[in-house]
């Protein structure tokens, strides 16, 4: 078993009268896909936003690579090596794939041109090719406008972008929502390749079929609490549904 990259202990977060997270422990290991499932309002988004630094938790602690760390904001999460791809992808449709991949972290020419920050398009395009090739992402061209790409391709571009900062943990929020069959398969393949790169991958999904297809472990949240962690290969869909809805009260804990 590989070591844990990120673990969170006793995370609690309250919004007014609502206890969104209540003492949640979560662990993700290098080279595994951890699916995060739960009903609407179970606290999935809150959990992800707490890890990505958008929310600050009321209590609880994080260990990254075994070291206690503080996640003070989105920037500090990124610095630690936690990348998040939100459902709305945050892409600029009017820019091409290269421009989107490097948005906010453009490569600039060295020498005198660096004072006016001239873009190094060749370098960015080469790196884009490398990255997309490693991930076997299929798009018509790195110079295609992102607005002309399919939903699956856009998702893949968004995931590829999150990898530019060399993260160790990638969180994907509903990556297959609103995608067709073929596109869903492309995105699931991409998630497997992230695992092959020895990243810790956290996937939020409503789609249990997809979850079972790609996840190593399934983490069920219910009403802000951990309702169980299952090995995907050793659990039935019915058991997971039971944990999500609370019908199956016997909480399970598997390594």
């Amino acid at each position: 078993m590989s070591e844990s990259i990120l673990s969170a202990r006793g995370l609690s977060k309250r919004f007014g009268p609502v206890q969104a997270l209540d003492g949640v422990d979560l662990e993700v290991r290098a080279g595994e896909v951890l699916a995060l499932v739960g009903d609407n309002g179970a606290g999935k988004s809150t959990l992800v936003k707490s890890i990505s630094g958008i929310y600050s938790v009321d209590s609880g602690e994080f260990l990254f690579d075994g070291q206690p760390v503080r996640i003070g904001g989105p920037a500090s999460a990124t610095e630690l090596g936690i990348a998040t791809v939100y459902q709305d992808l945050a892409l600029c449709d009017n820019l091409d794939v290269v421009a989107n991949l490097f948005l906010g972290q453009e490569e600039i020419m060295s020498g005198p041109a660096s004072t006016v920050r001239v873009l190094d398009e060749i370098r960015m395009e080469q790196r884009s090719h490398e990255l997309l090739q490693q991930l076997s992402v299929t798009i018509p061209s790195v110079r295609s406008e992102v607005g002309t790409l399919s939903g699956g391709q856009r998702q893949q571009v968004a995931v590829a972008r999150s990898l530019l900062g060399e993260p160790k943990v990638v969180m994907l929020d509903e990556p297959t929502a609103a995608l067709g069959v073929v596109q869903t398969k492309q995105v699931l393949d991409l998630i497997r390749r992230l695992r092959e790169r020895n990243l810790g991958v956290i996937v939020i999904s409503h789609n249990l079929a997809n979850v079972f297809e790609v996840a190593d472990r399934i983490f069920v949240l219910r009403l802000g609490r951990k309702a169980g962690v299952f090995e995907a290969s050793k659990v039935s869909e019915a058991q997971v549904v039971g944990a999500i809805t609370g019908a199956d009260t016997a909480e399970q804990e598997q390594p």
């Binding site: 992808l89 945050a90 892409l91 600029c92 449709d93 009017n94 820019l95 091409d96 421009a99 948005l103 906010g104 972290q105 453009e106 600039i108 006016v116 920050r117 001239v118 873009l119 398009e121 060749i122 395009e125 080469q126 090719h129 798009i139 018509p140 061209s141 790195v142 110079r143 295609s144 406008e145 607005g147 002309t148 790409l149 399919s150």
Partner: protein
């Protein structure tokens, strides 16, 4: 000239791209080659007017045309900056008048030398842009409201600065020479040679570097054709200008600003962020871009260019008066880039569109003046052309969206 360059798709395996004629036609119709479409429109307009009045395409009238479009063209360059971030600046006309008035008053009434006087005019514009941009970003007021208030305010300021006489005549040659200097044939041809060599070097040099690095580039024949076309345009233009009064300094100033801003918007990190903010401000913010900073800079550049345009206009008219920066100037400066393919919705467009659109508008108004049409007819024709251009933009945009959803 970059004709729709950013939109040219290329296959994954890099290298040269195959373009079928049908593909070209499709792109042409759907607005990716908006510049080419506008160039053809200009050619059509010129032919129509020349058939009506053969003096239209005479060297002296074409020289006049170039001089007439400098002010609108310069202001329109600034307007492109705010259009790219999806905003609008309705104060550019008033700002151009005020900046020219400030320059004229300190030069004529207070005896400032031309250079500091011009600098103060431009600084006035920049300061106004800073104020309007800050109001817009700080208080989240829609930009058209901020700049509409600005329109009235700066018109009032223009009257205040000009004082009771209402008109300041410019006599200092340091200022009037800007729009009234013509260079002889030798200078014209040297300029043409330098311009063509520089364009060929940049275009083909970049192409070679990209080929060597194995990244996507446009097909070599297309690039060579582009260099040849640009070379021909430059040679013909210089020949025409030389056969009249010569190469106007005002045109060189306009071209220098077009090229400078084109480079700024397409080759620098700032330009990239300008497009990004116009395309998706929230995505830009999450990518760590200082969205408000980009917006304020866009407004500063816009008002500064309005000031530059106003100063050139004053230099040409040899005076600043109460109607400086008024009448159609605002409408034309905003319409110009939109006619030539810069979107009103942000994130799409180019600095070239300011020049091309100003040429369209300038040609129509020059031609109608030459035909001595009634004002009523002129207004309606100009309005119709503007509407037509915006409809083409909207259709191209909806086609693009329909395609993007596939």
């Amino acid at each position: 000239m970059r004709l729709g360059t950013p939109d040219v798709a290329a296959p994954e395996d890099a290298g040269a791209e195959k373009v079928s004629p049908r593909d070209l036609l499709r792109r042409f119709l759907q607005g990716d080659l908006a510049s080419l479409r506008v160039i053809l429109a200009i050619a059509l307009i010129w032919i129509i007017f020349d058939l009506q009045n053969e003096r239209f395409l005479s060297a002296s009238n074409l020289t006049n045309l170039f001089l007439q479009i400098t002010a609108v063209g310069l202001i329109a360059i600034g307007v492109v900056m705010v259009l790219l971030i999806g905003e609008i600046d309705l104060s550019v006309g008033a700002v151009s008048g005020l900046a020219a008035a400030v320059m004229a008053v300190v030069n004529v009434k207070h005896g400032w030398a031309p250079v500091p006087a011009i600098a103060l005019g431009v600084i006035t514009g920049a300061a106004i842009g800073l104020l309007q941009g800050t109001l817009f970003t700080r208080f989240r007021i829609p930009s058209f409201v901020v700049t509409l208030a600005g329109l009235l305010t700066w018109q009032g300021a223009l009257l205040l600065v000009l004082g009771k006489t209402g008109t300041v005549n410019l006599t200092n040659s340091g200022i009037t020479d800007l729009a009234n200097t013509f260079y002889g044939p030798a200078v014209g041809w040297i300029f043409a040679a330098i311009a063509i060599a520089a364009f060929a070097l940049v275009t083909l040099g970049g192409h070679r570097r990209r080929l060597a690095a194995g990244v996507t580039t446009e097909p070599t024949p297309l690039l060579v054709a582009r260099v040849v076309v640009v070379a021909l345009v430059v040679i013909v233009a210089v020949a025409i200008l030389n056969s009249d009064r010569g190469l106007p300094l005002a045109l060189l100033i306009l071209l220098a600003f077009v090229i400078g801003f084109q480079a700024l918007t397409t080759r620098t990190v700032f330009g990239r962020h300008l497009f990004a903010v116009g395309g998706n401000a929230e995505a830009s913010r999450r990518a760590g871009i200082g969205v408000d900073r980009i917006r304020v800079i866009a407004f500063v550049l816009c008002s500064s260019m309005a000031a530059v345009g106003g100063i050139l206009a004053a230099s040409r008219l040899l005076a600043v008066n109460q109607s400086s920066g008024g009448s159609n100037l605002l409408l034309e400066a905003i319409a110009a880039p939109v006619i030539a393919g810069t979107s009103l919705f942000g994130g799409r467009g180019s600095v070239w569109s300011a020049l091309l659109g100003a040429t369209v508008i300038g040609s129509i108004s020059n031609g109608m003046n030459l035909l001595a049409l009634e004002s009523s007819v002129k207004f309606m024709i100009t309005g119709g052309v503007l509407l037509l251009a915006v409809i083409v933009d909207a259709v191209a945009r909806s086609r693009r969206q329909a395609e993007g959803r596939v």
